[in-house]
């Protein structure tokens, strides 16, 4: 359970999410892949907060929580993102009767 093992698992999760976000046609699958990437970044941040020594450690012990604070903000932004994203999905479904991204071509021309 070394630090590098956490980083590598997070990197694998991130790249799977990246592939999903780039290669899927269903917009809900893309949203799920983006959530995977958020989670991978959170794992990285929390692992760094646990294993690495921040610059101001000797002056202020609370600097070891910086990674966790960042993770809290990322979780909040992910919640906002999914609320808006699903709103857009429903708006798209109402006008297009589909959630296929390759058929979302209203902005072309």
């Amino acid at each position: 359970m070394s630090f590098e093992a956490f980083l590598i698992v997070a990197a694998i999760l991130f790249c799977i999410g990246l592939y999903g976000a780039l290669a899927r046609r269903n917009v809900l699958a893309v949203l799920m892949s983006i959530e995977l990437m958020f989670n991978a970044v959170n794992v990285t941040l929390v692992a760094m907060a646990k294993y690495l020594a921040p610059a101001g450690l000797m002056d202020d012990i609370s600097t070891v929580l910086t990674g966790q604070v960042f993770a809290v903000f990322i979780i909040t932004v992910a919640a906002a993102e999914i609320a808006l994203g699903l709103g857009i999905v429903f708006a798209m479904y109402r006008t297009n009767e589909t959630v296929d991204l390759s058929e979302a071509t209203q902005l072309r021309n």
Partner: protein, 197 residues
């Protein structure tokens, strides 16, 4: 230590297999269920990394809210039968993701990380597990922490940090959540012209 290693590898396999299922399974509903498996595995990793508060938040927000919202969206859009098809770019996307993965792994293995000194491990762990400052004097006395350090540690929980050093981003993120809430309401509101829902 050995037990933690076993738990870590179980969680890692859960997360990676679940993530592969999310992006590769043709049935979107099953993909959404596997997403919950990934979220739970990540929450377990947070516990291994002594971030208990984040693990609870992960379960509450990701599993309790985000995954349920996605499952509702999957059921409401009725595109489950057509499935989760790849687009024309899926081979370049896979190559790009694999290249990025090899770069990230190379960086993770090669970098000289500035690890915590061993004598600080226990202090850091005590601070990190206390999201809201719940450290009592007795627990700190048992861990052999001096009185001045006790005061410092009791004032450095995650909650204290959010309303002191990080108060500006905290307020900004609150406004962002409010804006997202209003935006989502506007987007799903029935169209006034057509009356369709």
């Amino acid at each position: 230590m050995l037990f933690q290693d076993v738990v870590f590898w179980i969680l890692a396999v859960m997360a990676i297999v679940g993530a592969l299922g999310v992006v590769l399974l043709p049935n979107l509903f099953r993909a959404a269920l596997l997403l919950i498996v990934v979220f739970v595995a990540v929450a377990g990793m947070f516990i291994l990394l002594s971030a208990e508060f984040l693990a609870v938040v992960q379960i509450l927000i990701y599993v309790g809210a985000i995954a349920i919202l996605i499952i509702f969206a999957v059921m409401l859009t009725r595109d489950v039968q057509r499935g989760n098809l790849p687009n024309r770019m899926h081979i370049p996307a896979a190559v790009f993701a694999a290249l990025l993965l090899s770069a990230l792994v190379a960086v993770a293995v090669d970098t000289e990380w500035n690890f915590l000194p061993d004598d600080q491990q226990e202090r850091v762990e005590l601070v990190q597990v206390s999201a809201v400052t719940t450290l009592t004097g007795e627990a700190l006395d048992e861990a052999g922490v001096s009185q001045t350090e006790q005061k410092e540690m009791q004032e450095s929980g995650l909650a204290d940090l959010l309303i002191s050093d990080y108060v500006l981003p905290f307020e900004a993120v609150s406004v962002l959540l409010l804006a997202a809430l209003i935006g989502a309401l506007v987007l799903v509101r029935p169209n006034p012209g057509t009356g369709r829902g």
